[in-house]
Symmetry: C2
Subunit: 73 residues, 2 copies
């Protein structure tokens, strides 16, 4: 599990990021948290339909594509 | 309040969307929910730093720009 906790936290939530492609059909929602005083990293956390939460790499092209696909659908 | 409830719901969460630009500095996080059996709309919900939750229009250019800005920061 690469996620410290869910919800609004006072520190970074992602310890590591999932590197493999996840098909959008498995994604229930995606949460984007800008960097800020609580954490210097942008954090992208996907909740999967099976309930798992995974941290994604904000700079990965496939992550940007998935987000674009959700918005454009 | 244009938001029915927060969390994972079995129906649409957004009743209406906020039409005015919100500066990214006021945004704590953004949650993207693809359309699905629970709701036919893509839902974009921003949590502001003052705790308010606002629904944004996924097709609005400024909403896409804010999401891009968060990812690229």
């Amino acid at each position: 599990k690469a996620l410290a906790r869910s919800g609004i936290e006072l520190r970074c939530q992602c310890i590591s990021t999932h590197s493999k492609f996840i098909h959008p059909k498995f994604i229930q929602n995606v949460n984007l948290t800008p960097s800020g005083p609580h954490c210097q990293n942008v954090e992208v956390i996907a909740t999967l339909k099976d309930g798992r939460e995974v941290c994604l790499e904000p700079t990965a092209p496939w992550v940007k594509l998935i987000i674009k696909a959700i918005l454009d659908k």
